[in-house]
Subunit: 394 residues, 2 copies
């Protein structure tokens, strides 16, 4: 499958000591330096962040959710309004997922047959069909720069038979997506499934690579398994992926997850963590997480992070941010979301610089210090994983 | 009472056909061109608008609520953090009210004696005293550029005796505030009360003017009386105010209210209407109000207002804004608040330009067209006066 006009992935730097890599993904709406992090614009907005301010965070590329946008306002309306870029006021690169993950996490009474998935909308209970062909048609109507194939995601743990069956279907569905994709200005990425079975992941990867996609995602992870299990699957999968195509780890993750995956050769990420935790008063810093409702910040005049260029840190103290959360003011979630997205963008930008300088190993060791694997606060702390104002599993 | 160092009010232009006037209020934190509109930063934030973005709306001066800030986080903390400007990250002029209006609208079990008001906090029920001396002490700790005297606000209608008693107390309290105010870098404004009794308003004004304050506010209006009643009181009061001192109509109002009051010689306004209604999906435009949940906007590609320089209108269509409100996304309230504050700032900027050009009469007639007096939507429509996410009477 040839690369569409105006789209191209170029590897620029390879770390000599690990699989970390730097590259550039060119799309009709601009170039993306990889490794990159995509904030999640679930319903056509990164929650709480005006599109104009996203640029100030260092964000290069956004993710939009096919499932959410197809249900509301519907892809036909978005197409009529000139496509997703124009509709949401973001003129940079956009990736849309396929809805596969939401079928698993959010839709009601989902029934998967070989032909398609049938489910009830979580908004109004209406019965909806999503086939591979329809997933592509929606994404072509949305006009994203990167479209994803429809995949079959299953809960972990599931029986080996269930995981294998879903994995096989994912490959067949990927082929069907590939057969119907028509837009010359849209890249199509396949999604590797296979649960926590490394052999199955390798087999799935090889079958998808033989179909020759323009990029490859690793899906069905970060659904509750221990981080080390996810890293084990990356260790098995990444070496099977072609070096000249972008690699995207879907729905991941914590700062530590990003660093671990970059070290294993992943190029792209998306996750709601920075915004969701930001709305819940958790701030990311290089000294570890700060819980901004905590009394210790009451009279702390310092910014969240010294030297952080974000709008929040340039203007506001921890004391003020704590006050906003105590007073229930929406500016608290807004300012913490902005900071956290900036933190993630700085993290990947620093990773790119370290790879280019050949010093990723030192950078990794240093940056991981506040994010220990075992006690990762953003996974273990019920305060932090709690969702505010967003459908679960979005 | 001499004007504080660095503070000065200068009249620049008087309309030849009405009482409208243009001036400049200089404060230690910068100059304010009048007529001016102050967005309300109730709890140290204009709801939903990052301080940095306020500048892009044309806002020159903010209002902070003494009642709210004294209850949470407390003026001692704000003082420790360097004062209100520094605490909220706004380096421009700031006015603080005295808490008089919240004693009437928000506090529980308020009991007013000659010495002070005693009330229970609406947050935790704790018993709190607010005397004229304490209101000044709080505002001096906050360090606003303009402080207000503590006034005694009563419900309308009330008996003549109740209104007169509160009006008399307001004058006595103003004198007590004047006696204890010490900051040389803070202006002190008196507040005219007297309900809807024009004679009482005139008498109150004369008594306050004889005490010689640096500015005069007209309070206790826009509390449910018909707009024409408020304008009648302005007609009686404004001619009694000294021409060389700024005049501030508190808690007002609709676009029509601002135009009517500017015509009668008022210089300053504050109101939650643009942000509160913005959160409730109502947008202000020169063609009248737009209710953004309405189906008619579903596929409307136009901005809220052609030519509006706000972040919302520069990037986003009515269709997108409707989608945000339909989807319950916080970006809807954010973007409409931004637009509405910009609308109000453009309105007063245009009024200033018209006064300078000597064309305020034509401007008034033209601008009032979408804001008819009788059917003023923002007063009559229950949808619009409903409060979202904010304590009532804030």
């Amino acid at each position: 499958m040839p690369l569409p006009i105006m789209c191209h992935f170029a590897l620029r730097h390879l770390d000599p000591h690990c699989a970390a890599r730097c590259g550039q993904l060119r799309t009709p709406h601009g170039a993306v330096e990889t490794p990159t992090f995509m904030p999640v614009g679930t319903q056509g907005t990164v929650k709480g962040i005006a599109t104009e301010l996203l640029e100030s965070t260092g964000t290069q590329m956004l993710l939009g959710n096919t499932y959410h946008l197809a249900l509301r306002p519907g892809e036909a309306l978005i197409q009529k309004m000139g496509g997703l870029h124009r509709f949401i006021g973001w003129n940079g690169p956009l990736l849309t997922d396929s809805g596969g993950f939401q079928l698993f996490s959010l839709a009601q009474n989902t029934r998967v047959t070989e032909h398609m998935a049938l489910f009830r909308s979580h908004i109004d209970g209406r019965l909806i069909e999503l086939s591979p062909e329809r997933a592509i048609a929606i994404q072509e109507a949305l006009g994203s720069d990167v479209a994803m194939v429809l995949d079959h995601v299953v809960a972990l743990p599931s029986s080996a038979e269930v995981v294998r069956d879903a994995c096989d279907r994912t490959v067949r569905w990927a082929a069907r997506c590939r057969d119907v994709a028509r837009r010359p200005d849209q890249l199509l990425f396949a999604i590797v499934q296979g649960g926590l079975d490394a052999d199955l992941r390798v087999a799935c990867t090889r079958r998808l690579v033989s179909l020759d996609f323009q990029g490859y995602a690793i899906g069905g992870l970060s659904v509750g398994e221990p981080p080390r299990e996810m890293y084990r699957i990356l260790d098995a999968t990444c070496p099977e992926l072609p070096a000249d195509r972008p690699r995207y780890l879907m729905g991941v993750g914590t700062p530590r997850d990003l660093l671990e995956a970059i070290r294993r050769g992943v190029d792209m990420f998306d996750c709601v963590i920075p915004t969701r935790n930001g709305r819940n008063a958790l701030a990311y810093t290089d000294q570890g997480p700060l819980r901004m409702r905590n009394l210790q910040h009451q009279d702390d005049d310092r910014p969240l992070e010294a030297g952080c260029p974000c709008l929040t840190c340039r203007r506001h103290s921890r004391a003020y941010l704590r006050h906003l959360f105590q007073a229930g003011e929406m500016l608290g979630p807004i300012l913490l979301s902005l900071h956290n997205v900036t933190y993630y963008q700085r993290l990947v930008a620093q990773a790119r610089a370290a790879i280019q300088a050949g010093t990723f190993g030192e950078f990794f060791a240093h940056k991981c210090q506040p994010w220990p694997l075992a006690g990762d606060a953003s996974l273990d702390d019920p305060d932090v994983s709690q969702v505010i104002g967003e459908p679960s599993g979005a």
